[in-house]
Amino acid sequence: MAMHADSGIMEARDDIMVTNTLGVHARPASMIVETALKFQSNIYIQYKGNMVNAKSIMGLLTLGAAQGSQLTVICTGPDAPDALEALRQLFASGFGEA
């Protein structure tokens, strides 16, 4: 994780693995938006040269990240570390799939 305070703006980023069987399909995409909207920070998810805003359901639906994909999550803003942690937990939970 990289974190630095630069003129009051924090950035937190880390690589996160997609662990659930079905990958980032419709329901995980909605859950990511719901989580991201709780934070002020800008949150981006980078995958295979594609960068989407985690608050955009349309963007997430075009991400196409299957199980085992490595994503980079980049949070910028006053609550960046918390946002990153929340997303990390969401991915680790496998989005509640059995």
């Binding site: 399909h25 419709a26 805003n53 955009s56 349309m58 963007g59 639906l61 075009t62 299957a66 059995a98």
Partner: protein, 588 residues
Amino acid sequence: MEIRMQGLGVSPGIAVAPVIVHARGRWHVPVYAISNPEAEIERFHLALESAREDLLRLYAQTTAALGSGHAAIFQAHLMILDDPVFQEEVSELVRSRLCNVEHALDRVSREYLEKMGQLAEFHLQDRHADILDVVDRLMERLLAVQPRRLADIEEPVILVARDLSPSETVGLNRELVQAIVVEVGSVTSHSAILARALQIPAVIGVPSITAKVIPGQFLVVDGSDGTVILDPEPNTQRRYRQERETFLRRQAVYAGDTSRGPAIMADGQAVILQANIELPAEVAHGLRAGATGVGLFRTEYLFLGRNDLPREQEQFEAYLDVVRAANGQPVTIRTLDIGGDKLSSAFSAYHEANPQLGWRAIRYCLAHPELFRAQLRAILRASAFGPVRIMFPLVTGPDEFRRARDFMKQVMLELRDENIPFDANVPVGAMIEVPSAVMTADILARECQFFSIGTNDLIQYSLAVDRVNEKIAHLYDPCHPGVIRMIAQVVNAANARGIECAVCGEMAGDPLYAELLIGLGVLTLSMAPVAIPFVREAISELDTASARQFALQALSIDSSEDIRNLLAQRYTKRTARLNSSPVPETAP
């Protein structure tokens, strides 16, 4: 000349009316240059605001009518509408190209849909349809075109469509849409479930009907038996109009009927009437119709039309809704009764040549312990809040029943270890719908706390008839001597062990068969809520001794036709008297 077509009746009721054909159309989107982009973007924001109000209203209406599960689709639409990146991209295109906002909206949404289309393995078809729905909603406002929404139908019509989305179905005007006929779908599809919940007569599975009908043409639809008649002859029209009048008049009378509790026969014998339901919201329909509890809660709706499995908590909340709504009356919850072919392809790109004889129901559940465990845990947790019974579908014999019950016992131990409350004495029973279960009913009766005969499947399996196949549908015959003997054998096996034997198939909801079933010893009938008052009335005319005698007679007759004639004769004699008695005028 009139043309008859046969579909599957999934929501009872009769309609005779002109047709409208519903086809999803795309817009002709104009392109023109603009000089004031900010004014153009303001138009966009007004459209967004107005669409949002609409969606919030639909969400509230649907939640109230059908529960939050069915309303979730509008939450998904709101999330699309409120997508900040999407909105900004449309606005940015207006600014950079100085083009009208409709064109920008069209271009941006197309790009997303194309990208999603390349991700076939993610099964985003539903979201694809949702995005189109939201874009349509915005276009309607921007282009100031008359919304072509089905909710705006102005005359009584029969709606014919390839399929209807949930948002289209719940938006229907129930006063004007007299019936629905769709080409695709199954009894458990969304449009079927919603039509039943909304009490709109519906027939599904009528291939290419949208191509066969001309808008404005007359149609007869019978949602009970799946008949659809194109260009009905004057005589046919008259007959169905009469049937419709009778149905509606009696329904209106029954709506004011406050009969509750068991149906009482002329000699005082009580017969328990329960409701078959698909959705928690239907418990209220059942109770209003006078049901004593829920005899069959089909849980399939929780599993259909989605990309994932419902989690234990979600299931628990649904079962709890039903238990609470039943208000202390018993609720029989049937475990999952579909198979790999019906669950989303996200789980299994699994197809079977013969799903009816395939990997489904209890077989599927026993092969998927995690799925089965989550459902049983959810049901057991709900059993702490009111009387619940658990029923396993498609049981073929004692070993299979024991395996399912032992699995449930193990789940009970897990709950006990976790200190989660449940009813340790929850009754467990088998749905009797396979001939081998009939032949082993005496053994099963030692293991089960109740039986419920699913006559639809029992008839199909024992007569080897797929009733959806129009070439042989007429061979589906509840009066077949083989069927009557099987019902008798199951009831006798249950009575010998003192356990309840209910009937929950369509036979239970048809007043015609009440005397036969009761005569065979069945004292619990579970049916669609709409049928309850009719069956209650038929039962009030019956007498235990003569029903017994009639059943014995029926068991000795050697021809289906003779049995059916006798049944109909006795029934007509009784109803002739009922129908001649004056029906009080009631406001609709």
